[in-house]
Amino acid sequence: MSGQDASGLRAWMLQRVSAVVLALCFSSMLIAWLMQRPLTYDAWRAWIAHPVVNIASLLFFIALVVHAWVGVRDVVIDYVRSTAVRFVVLVSVATSLLAMLVWAFRILLRVTS
């Protein structure tokens, strides 16, 4: 492991970059949604299928998984002291987050097709 990895600087930076992406995507989508109110099934589906909303959602989910990974990893390292248990918990978290990312991708792709 290189010195840069061990310092935690990369995780620190990833947490902040993903936070900014999440804040921008979430607040812009929330405001757009509150203004347009796609409240029927057809309107909601068309809204999510719109390229801008679709790509913003994609970016949102990618940033969400990165952000959740760094955050949950910090929490697990703080409270789970046993290396073996910590390893199992972190592998489960990583696997679940990747599965949820693929799930979200599939939904967003399905809506556009």
């Binding site: 902040r16 936070a19 900014v20 804040a23 979430f26 607040s27 929330l30 509150l34 099934y41 057809d42 909601w44 589906r45 999510i48 969400l64 959740a68 955050g71 949950v72 929490v75 679940s96 987050l97 949820m100 799930w103 979200a104 939904i107 399905r110 809506v111």
Partner: protein, 126 residues
């Protein structure tokens, strides 16, 4: 070493009066964990709402029930707190609000802003 170990420890969490910045910090961690746990639930509802008109109606009625509304209120609070406290941390990284009084004021602004945002959003959704 033995005298070192006998030092008084005062960690009665019910009697420690937390500074407001500590409450922002604790709530930031709690809301983060809660949001992580709700990711699969939110994706599940997102998936269902985009499957068919019937599924959309089912999601609609679930979210409009009393437990549905209460859960959404809790998740929305967690989201807004995590967002507002997170913006404060980014500003602290930029050395804005880093003095004792500045950090305290910033923490109060976080609680004020999230309460206001919650009221506005709930008001718009009613």
């Amino acid at each position: 070493m033995s005298s070192f170990k006998k030092r008084p420890v005062f960690l009665d969490i019910t009697r420690i009066r937390m500074p407001v910045a500590a409450l922002v910090s604790i709530a930031h961690r709690l809301s983060g964990v809660l949001l992580f746990l709700t990711i699969p639930v939110v994706i599940y509802f997102f998936d269902l709402s985009l499957r068919s008109a019937q599924d959309f109606a089912a999601v609609n009625s679930m979210l409009n029930s009393v437990p549905g509304k209460l859960s959404m209120l809790v998740v929305l609070w967690a989201l807004l707190h995590h967002l507002c406290a997170g913006i404060r941390y980014l500003l602290l990284d930029l050395r804005i609000g880093l003095t004792r009084d500045g950090a305290r004021l910033g923490a109060w602004i976080v609680f004020g802003a999230e309460a206001l945002a919650l009221l506005i959003i709930v008001g718009m959704l009613r």
